[in-house]
Subunit: 156 residues, 2 copies
Amino acid sequence: MDVKFINPFIISLQNVVETMAMIRLQTQKPKRKSSALAMGDVSGIIGMVGPQIKGSMAITFDTELALNMMKNMLGEEAKSISEEVRDMVGEMTNMICGGAKSSLAEQGYEFEMAVPVIVSGEHHTIQHKVDGPKILLTFVSEQGNAYLEICFDEQQ
Amino acid sequence: MDVKFINPFIISLQNVVETMAMIRLQTQKPKRKSSALAMGDVSGIIGMVGPQIKGSMAITFDTELALNMMKNMLGEEAKSISEEVRDMVGEMTNMICGGAKSSLAEQGYEFEMAVPVIVSGEHHTIQHKVDGPKILLTFVSEQGNAYLEICFDEQQ
């Protein structure tokens, strides 16, 4: 998988979280995901299908980051992963994927997004079922951490 | 959402689980999902995008059913939700969605499937972020239970 497929997601995630929640997330180089699974408490997952590309994206937040985002965005002090927090994660997932979609469209890669799905549960893990490579990125901040997992096969 | 969009998924789920794992799942009439969340231990999620329809499907298995399916299909006595069990859930999700895709195509509703994503974690919950109705089906058997959650908006 080419870095040109990955960078738009990284940039979009950082932009959306910084713009909406005033939290600056730092990341390192993308890694191929090995057997180790990222663990988080609330995730947004979205499928992508286009003539040249097919894949899925998952963003997993730990509770600390999800609650801090909620507080910064809406001024609400949620104490746990509530209905409102899950809604916010769904919106963020849509915005992050939408931002990457626009960048990739400019490069000539078109896809449509499916409906976001939100998963919650302490320390759940996420895994993409593909033959191709899976990329895992860890984003860190003083207000909590997030994990972006992405797989994006070029179709023949 | 028309029952014609839902029935192909119900039939495909029952067929795949009975054919592959020799477990007959009983279900009741589809319900609109309210605030109550289905809880399970391992789920397969898949996004769907087509010219007329857009949606996502999640199948959540409790540990009992997932391990019994594994035993019946592969003769392996797994004790917990392992890598192999997650792979099996990914395969089943693909087959179930693929079966429904074929039926719906015969009725003139075409869509492409994104990549399946597998979530594991005790008692996690799943929620679809859509404005339209979300349908929840509970499937029961003596060998464990499953939950099918589906949302399928007709596009304009």
